[in-house]
């Protein structure tokens, strides 16, 4: 059996898909018109049934529409239609791997062999209808023994229609010939013959039909009888999961922005779930209304990329991450378009070990880290992250370290020997500029925080250098460990002479 998912007035449904449930239902009950073209000459590209009943026709100008009725006007967005088609395909893929993208708003899938999973065709259709509703679609669904019968049935009949094997011609009979989308001249000829529905077309003598209309006429007749069994043309699974929303009027408030962002993320996560996928990379891009950009901030843009430590498909977590960042980064101009992209990957397949240490919940930890970054900042002036796991770099340069993302998921218990307490260095970042009195090329006194401290003992000099091939990053130092007599007792400090700058610094204290 084959199922066809058909979204009537697809451009309208694509435009309304991201509206919240009650608002979408209210809009579907009222005239909605999709306009296309330059701003000065917008014309009707699509309209829903209520708009057509109100007298609105394809090709009307905006003024004519406004004169005709108080319809809701939306501008056509090809990106939204593409995203809606992808969502429709993902919806179908939740039920079968063999899916054909027949036309915009029309998807045919092969349900053969899925009876054990979804039960009778009626049950499968009901499940498809429910899932499509979650995606924001109001579909016509038809299940028939061959793809074309399912396709024309879905186009011709509203709601859910099931056609058992052997009843194709009978059930297709009442449909108008136009549903087959024949060439215009063929349609005119059939009109002249008085052939208006598929039942009449199917009843014509085949040989006489071929003599007059050729093989295309016979093909039309076999379609009308539901006799053609063709293989599906499988649609390649989408590798990019993108949802976008263009505001009619640029929005200035965060509330309006995050409301739509939440809807987009839920749609994306639902699509990922349909294909048993998750994401480990979220990208959020805002297009700003350039005509309102502040002087001096012409290059302002918002393009954020979150690389998640593990795949997830929880829209709430993704939304929280994006929301915290949006809260911290205010834009000088209103937002006219919102683009959200996720990179699909296989979901995390791991089970916590019985002997693994208790750890913060991975999803909660990501939100906590985002909040921490909101307080401390994401990175310092050198681009090193402010929160994460430390990592000592393979470099001879002192205090060379990096901070990599902290994760409880990817932690591997490498071979760590039992900890041994050692004398730790307490760093001064940035290093303290100081002056040192020397005698016999040994430090005799060090100025520390405006106090002259006598050197009791000194260990050094320990000379090191590096990056001599690059003048910008070259370093050359002479290091000393000195015992200084302070007010609280003896302090062991690490000082060094920057031999390139000829300046002494205090790097830290052995504490």
């Amino acid at each position: 059996m084959f199922a066809c998912l058909f979204a009537p007035d697809f451009p309208v449904q694509a435009a309304l898909r991201l509206e919240p449930g009650p608002a979408r239902a209210a809009l579907q009950q009222s005239p909605v018109v999709i306009l296309e073209g330059p701003a000065s000459l917008l014309r009707v590209f699509a309209a829903n049934e209520n708009a057509r009943q109100a007298g609105i026709e394809i090709g009307m100008t905006r003024l004519q529409v406004e004169a005709c009725s108080r319809a809701t006007l939306r501008k056509r967005s090809p990106a939204q239609e593409d995203a809606a088609q992808s969502a429709l395909l993902d919806c179908a893929r939740a039920f079968s791997p063999r899916v054909e993208s027949t036309a915009p708003g029309t998807v045919v899938l092969d349900l053969t062999g899925t009876e054990k999973l979804f039960g009778l065709p009626q049950n499968a259709a009901a499940k498809i209808f429910l899932l499509a509703g979650e995606f924001g679609f109001d579909l016509n669904i038809a299940i028939a023994p061959n793809p074309d019968t399912a396709l024309y049935t879905a186009r011709g009949f509203a709601g859910v229609t099931i056609i058992p094997s052997g009843e194709e011609a009978k059930r297709l009979g009442p449909l108008l010939v136009a549903v087959l989308s024949p060439p215009l001249e063929v349609l005119e000829i059939l009109e002249c013959w008085g052939i208006r529905n598929l039942q009449s077309l199917g009843a014509l003598p085949p040989v006489a039909l071929v003599e007059r209309l050729g093989q295309s006429g016979l093909h039309l007749q076999r379609l009308a009888r539901g006799e053609i069994h063709r293989p599906l043309v499988p649609a390649a699974p989408a590798t990019d999961f993108i949802e976008s929303f263009e505001f009619d009027d640029p929005v200035e408030t965060l509330e309006s922005l995050v409301f739509i962002l939440n809807r987009l993320l839920h749609q994306l996560c639902a699509r990922l779930a349909c294909r048993s996928l998750a994401t480990n990379e979220l990208r959020l891009k805002l297009e700003l209304a350039s005509w309102q950009k502040m002087a001096g901030r012409q290059d302002e843009s918002y393009d954020r990329l979150w690389k998640l430590p593990f795949p997830m498909q929880d829209a709430k977590v993704l939304f929280r991450l994006a929301y915290l960042d949006l809260e911290d980064n205010t834009q000088s101009s209103p937002v006219k378009k919102l683009i959200v992209q996720v990179v699909p990957v296989k979901p995390r397949l791991s089970q916590s070990g019985l002997f693994a240490p208790p750890s913060p919940e991975a999803e909660q930890l990501e939100i906590t880290l985002a909040r921490v970054r909101g307080v401390t900042g994401a990175a310092d002036q050198n681009g090193i992250a402010c929160a994460g796991s430390p990592q000592v770099l393979d470099s001879h340069k002192p205090d060379s370290f990096s901070v990599r993302p902290f994760s409880t998921v990817t932690t591997k218990d490498a071979d760590h020997s039992a900890p041994v307490p050692v004398l730790a260095l307490r760093m001064f970042r940035p290093v303290l500029e100081t002056s040192v009195e020397t005698m016999d090329q040994k430090p005799r006194a060090v100025s520390l925080r405006k106090k002259r401290l006598r050197v009791l003992a000194a260990s050094g000099p320990w000379r090191s250098s590096g990056h001599w091939w690059n003048a910008a990053s070259a370093w050359k130092r002479e290091e000393w460990d000195v015992a200084l007599q302070t007010a609280d007792g003896v302090g062991f400090y690490r000082i060094y002479l920057d031999r390139l700058r000829k300046q002494w610094f205090v790097e830290g204290v052995l504490d």
């Binding site: 307080v375 430390p390 000592v392 307490p421 004398l423 260095l425 003896v490 052995l510």
Partner: protein, 234 residues
């Protein structure tokens, strides 16, 4: 029969559990990895606030104790270090054998923001406590001037104390002087002692530890064990 006994019998008759001693639950601790301190204190108590104090000018060993504690705790728990002054040295920590994969290092005060490093550290510590899952949360205030930390209201310490007592985690503050007063479950004061030099090389630093305050059985006043910390190169 004396009146006190009568009174006690009367009360026990009405309220049987009035004078019953509730068995004290054994407090879980995290070992610091320094045998002398662990023997004296039994380790850093979990579900309690601990203060490790030492001078900011002299080498008191407070940072080494904290690094050792983090390294030992990271064996069994995920740990967080909220570094108010960005003074943590990963090289020293690596020398102790710390598992960096289980350490979250938060460096405060690296960007100019509305909050000062101390406020950032307290806020981050609060977030990590709320997040849960960490066995040890250490807040290093050693680089913050004493006069600034002294201004922290007692209510903040009290709040931390109340939050941590419900969590299976240890909250450790590294400071120059103790501030949490009765909110702290353990206060450890460290002082430097004469170091050991071999030739012109500093090889060992000696430290004296004193338990200023503990909720557990208080060690004798004379117990001020010395312990030594070897230099990485020794």
């Amino acid at each position: 029969m004396p009146s006190a006994v009568l009174l006690r019998a009367h009360i026990e008759n009405k309220i049987p559990s009035a004078f019953a001693r509730s068995p004290r639950l054994e407090q879980k601790t995290l070992l610091t990895g320094i045998a002398e301190i662990d023997a004296m204190t039994g380790g850093v108590p979990m579900s309690a606030l601990t203060e490790i104090c030492g001078s900011s000018l002299a080498s008191s060993g407070k940072t080494s104790v904290l690094v050792s504690l983090l390294a030992a705790a990271a064996e069994k728990h995920f740990c967080a270090l909220v570094d108010a002054g960005d003074s943590f040295d990963p090289v020293s920590a690596e020398a102790t054998g710390m598992n960096f994969g289980r350490l979250l290092w938060v460096r405060c005060g690296k960007q100019k923001s509305k909050l000062r490093p101390l406020e950032q550290a307290f806020k981050v510590a609060d977030m990590l406590l709320q997040s849960g899952g960490f066995g040890l949360i250490a807040v290093d205030l050693g680089a913050i001037p004493e006069r600034v930390v002294r201004r922290v209201p007692l209510s903040s310490w009290f709040r931390f104390s109340r939050v941590i007592e419900k969590l299976p985690a240890a909250l450790v503050f590294l400071e120059q002087q103790p501030h949490a007063t009765s909110c702290a479950g353990l206060v450890l004061q460290l002082q430097s002692q004469p170091a050991v030099w071999q030739g012109k090389l500093l090889t060992q630093c000696n430290v004296r530890a004193e338990v200023v305050r503990t909720r557990e059985k208080r060690p004798p006043q004379s117990a001020r064990p010395d312990f030594s910390l070897k230099a990485q190169w020794a």
